[in-house]
């Protein structure tokens, strides 16, 4: 028997560390070759690490949510193979495994031959690897609900031993407020401690009880990525948000017409492909909006290709799949790509490159879009277009109010790069295109 150490593999270009998002095994488990051991996350993609051999898990190092540098031992498997334990090389980090074995000469071959092969695109049947399991990992020790004693009648002296009374007095507690659980409603030291810890009970009416539990949820996996990304955006980018309303009546009529006469193989058109095409046109006039600002280097990289990120809600949190080269896609192509990517994001099968590389982003909550939002720029981009809810609203056409399908666009810009005037011009251009949708299809 020998022990094989599994290290954090090199999971992609330029990645120095990865986060453990899931353990599929625990110490004592028997694993076969190719069984998934763990899922790690880099960027926004999840990578599963399979077992290189058959054996028994004897040690697991990092916990879920830990950032682990590439090359760090993460797991040890006891297997029936020949050879000495490779753990002898790392006595300091493996105190609980084979420490009684004499220190053998370093055997680099033992670990290099067993280097696991990262699986970047897991098969759909054994997937969902990116689901954070924070809820399971941090179940707090449930404190038994405090069952208060029978309520004391008004004006009755609280019943407590002199020691309890003295403690209460020194702690500034009025014992009349403390429920007693002892015999005859006596207030015990434990009752007092609980009161000191949790304060007075809320007067209980109608069987409602205060829930005093606190559940700790470790920020891990995608949730942590989102948190980091949001912090980066909000702390580094001075946002300017601009809101204007758009009359969508004409576009909605056109969209309905196009969907009615949809050719075989084409997907149903939503609003987004129209917006994307309008953005491509606006960017052609104002290319600065399709840029990446590397503020550390002091360089704005203005891209020719319009790679539009679509902020999408998935079961595990916010993801931004990217429609690449929207300038080279017609409206149906855009629609098809949006559908494909959002499906991939939802099922967790999106590739890492499908989740990165955007140059501008759309944030849309659809029917939940509200009236106004303050979108957070997808760092290091410089603009994000927020789509609010469409609704029929009265519109003054000069002589009377007419019902129109109105929708607001709430858009944020990096004010370091984009001036307010330019931002307004950009949105007015998109607004004009959406209100006269034929212009979207006119070749310049």
């Amino acid at each position: 028997m020998a022990i094989q150490t599994i290290k954090m593999p090199d999971v992609g270009e330029g990645v120095a560390e990865a986060e453990i998002v899931e353990w599929h095994v625990k110490p004592g488990d028997l694993v076969r070759e190719d069984d998934v051991l763990t899922a790690v996350m880099t960027g926004k993609a999840t990578v599963e690490i399979p077992s290189p051999l058959e054996g028994k898990i004897v040690w697991i190092g990092p916990a879920i949510g830990d950032m682990v540098p590439v090359g760090t031992p993460i797991l040890k498997i006891e297997h029936a193979g020949e050879g000495e334990d490779d753990t002898a090389q790392e006595p300091a980090i493996a105190p609980d495994a084979a420490t009684d074995k004499p220190a053998a000469a370093p055997q680099p071959a033992a670990s290099s031959k067993a280097e696991p092969v990262p699986v970047e695109k897991p098969a759909p049947d054994r997937l969902p690897t990116s689901r954070p399991v924070a809820a399971e990992t941090s179940a707090p020790v449930a404190r038994p609900a405090h069952a208060p004693g029978a309520p004391r009648p008004e004006g009755e002296k609280p019943l407590a031993s002199p020691a309890v009374r003295l403690r209460a007095r020194e702690a500034g507690i009025d014992l009349r407020q403390v429920p007693g659980t002892g015999p005859a409603g006596r207030i015990t030291h434990e009752d007092l401690e609980l009161f000191l810890a949790e304060g007075p009970a809320v007067p209980q009416t109608g069987g409602l009880k205060p829930d005093l539990s606190v559940k700790e949820i470790r920020m891990a996996g995608l949730r942590r990525r989102i948190a980091e990304q949001m912090s980066r955006s909000k702390s580094r980018i001075p946002h300017i948000t601009y809101v204007d309303e758009v009359d969508m009546t004409a576009l909605e009529e056109l969209r309905a017409g196009m969907n009615r006469s949809l050719k075989q193989g084409r997907v149903k058109l939503t609003l987004l492909p129209f917006l994307m095409r309008a953005m491509v046109k606006a960017i052609a006039d104002q290319p600065l909006f399709n840029a990446i600002y590397d503020d550390e280097a002091g360089i704005i990289r203005q891209h020719g290709g319009v790679h539009i990120g679509i902020a999408a809600q998935t079961p595990s949190g916010l993801m931004v799949p990217v429609v690449r080269h929207a300038e080279a896609r017609d409206i149906h192509d855009c629609a098809r790509e949006i559908l494909r990517l959002s499906e991939a994001a939802r099922t967790g099968t999106a590739l890492r490159e499908e989740l990165s590389g955007s140059t501008i982003t759309i944030s849309s909550l659809g029917a939940l879009g509200g009236i106004v939002s303050t979108p957070v720029i997808n760092h290091p981009e410089v603009a994000i277009i927020g789509v609010n809810k469409m609704a029929v609203r009265p519109h003054w056409d000069g002589t009377q109010f007419v019902p129109r399908k109105m929708m607001n666009l709430s858009s944020s810009f990096d004010h370091r790069v984009i001036d307010g005037y330019d931002a307004a011009t950009f949105i007015q251009r998109i607004k004009a295109l959406l209100e006269n949708p034929a212009m979207i299809f006119v070749e310049d």
């Binding site: 407590a160 031993s161 002199p162 015999p183 005859a184 006596r186």
Partner: protein
């Protein structure tokens, strides 16, 4: 004389005052105590302690005298005893002296400065003490009034000559041939019983229908019975109409009939009054509560920085109440959070047999509208009581009917004063009947009557 400045001044070195001063000294408070007589107050000098010495001597003499007339059931008989009452008084005095010296030593050890003299307030922060060597001015941030109480004098029969207060009654050089006791409260009964045992012909005159009127009739009956066997005449429902300093008393019964009683000495024990005069109260603005100084739950008077403790603040006028108050006030002055939140102040009457009460009486519980259960266990069924020849009396426990919380415990019987510890602890700790019934009490002791009474209240007395 150099003026004294201190953080705490205690006026009166009785049980309340000296405890306050000792505790304050322990807590590092700069404390001065003023006392015009010896430390220890009424309790140590002319109350609890000397009376207990006399009661013990009297009982010893009486038991021997009884055996000289008729041998004890266990066979002990002997000739007539002799009593050197002067020696009794000397012995009593030595006990008092040991205790008062002890208190003086404790005060010294705690770093308390004692000033001997009569204190008088000049204002809320200044007291002048008339000492043997002149007037001592004391400025204090906080003052505790612990001036105590004194026997009540009857206008128609002032103290002096053969008309005695408890103080003189404890210091008689000879046992009087006859003694009339006016007032059948616990002091009158205790001293009347003692002198009866010492051979005096004693008459106790009480205006209420029974002696020891604060107690339930069932508790008093064994006492009345014992007084009867001691040859004491009980004149209850009887008032004093007139009296002469030489001991001729004119009494009036509840039926309106007059009666003459003549006694060598007359002991007047019609109560005690708080000492609220003679120390400059008129210089202060203290709210009163009847004859007492009004205090709150922290023993604060209506004046900031002035506390009052003990008998001067009201009933029950008991040394242990004053002590608890004194300790609390010292800790309050030291900045600690305290309040007088005691549930029970037990009381003992050293009559024959003794009577103990702690917490509510049955009557008081009923007056509060509480539904109660009671259990009683007689010493007749207690082995230890039989071996002591002390089968008179019982223990009675009163508890709430709904949750069995013990509200009151009473006992009458020889030696039951020591049971007061268990009674008070049970109530202070919030014991239920089941707690007392579930506590193993040593066998054979009188204390076994306590859990038996609790079991009786629970409906399953064992030895009944």
């Amino acid at each position: 004389m150099k003026e004294i400045h201190c953080k705490l001044l205690v006026i009166g070195a009785g049980p309340g005052g000296y405890v306050a001063a000792i505790r304050a000294g322990q807590l590092g408070i700069d404390t001065v105590i003023v006392e015009k007589a010896r430390p220890g107050g009424t309790c140590l000098n002319i109350g609890c302690i000397p009376s207990k010495a006399l009661i013990h001597a009297a009982e010893e003499f009486h038991a021997a005298m009884r055996r000289s007339e008729k041998p004890a059931p266990f066979g002990l008989g002997h000739g007539a005893p002799t009593l050197d009452f002067g020696a009794t008084q000397t012995w009593k005095g030595s006990i008092v002296q040991r205790l008062t010296n002890g208190v003086a030593g404790l005060l010294k050890k705690a770093g308390v400065k004692t000033v001997i003299g009569h204190a008088r307030f000049r204002d809320g922060k200044t007291v002048a003490v008339e000492t043997e060597t002149g007037t001592q001015i004391i400025h204090a941030e906080n003052t505790v009034i612990a001036t105590g109480s004194a026997p009540v004098e009857l206008p128609i029969l002032p103290f002096g000559g053969n008309i005695l207060s408890s103080t003189e009654a404890l210091a008689l050089k000879d046992v009087p041939e006859s003694l009339a006791v006016i007032g059948g409260g616990y002091i009158g009964v205790e001293l009347g019983t003692a002198y009866a045992k010492l051979g005096a012909r004693v008459t106790i005159i009480e205006a209420q229908p029974q002696i020891l009127p604060l107690y339930d009739a069932s508790l008093v009956r064994p006492v009345e019975k014992r007084l009867g066997t001691l040859g004491v005449t009980l004149l209850t429902g009887t008032r004093l109409k007139a009296g002469t300093p030489d001991g001729k008393l004119t009494l009036e019964g509840s039926d309106g009939r007059e009666k003459e009683v003549e006694a060598a000495k007359v002991l007047v024990t019609v109560g005690r009054k708080p000492l609220t005069e003679g120390w400059g109260r008129e210089e202060l603005v203290l709210d009163m509560s009847g004859p007492f100084i009004r205090i709150d739950e922290k023993c604060r008077t209506s004046m900031r920085g002035i506390y009052a403790i003990g008998d001067v603040t009201g009933e029950p006028m008991l040394a242990h109440r004053a002590m608890a108050q004194g300790e609390m006030v010292a800790e309050l002055v030291a900045g600690k959070a305290r309040s007088f939140d005691r549930r029970v102040i037990p009381a003992v009457c050293f009559s024959a047999p003794e009577v103990v009460s702690a917490g509510l009486s049955l009557r008081e519980a009923k007056a509060l509208g509480i539904e109660t259960v009671t259990g009683k266990f007689p010493f007749q069924a207690n082995g230890r009581a039989m071996t002591l020849g002390a089968e008179e009396g019982f223990v009675r426990v009163i508890a709430r009917a709904d949750n069995h919380l013990v509200l009151g415990i009473e006992a009458v019987g020889d030696h039951v004063s020591e049971l007061s510890a268990a009674f008070a602890l049970a109530i202070e700790m919030g014991a239920r009947l089941e707690d007392i019934a579930g506590t193993i009490h040593a066998h054979p002791t009188l204390s076994e009557a306590f859990p038996e009474a609790a079991m009786a209240a629970l409906g399953h007395g064992l030895h009944m």
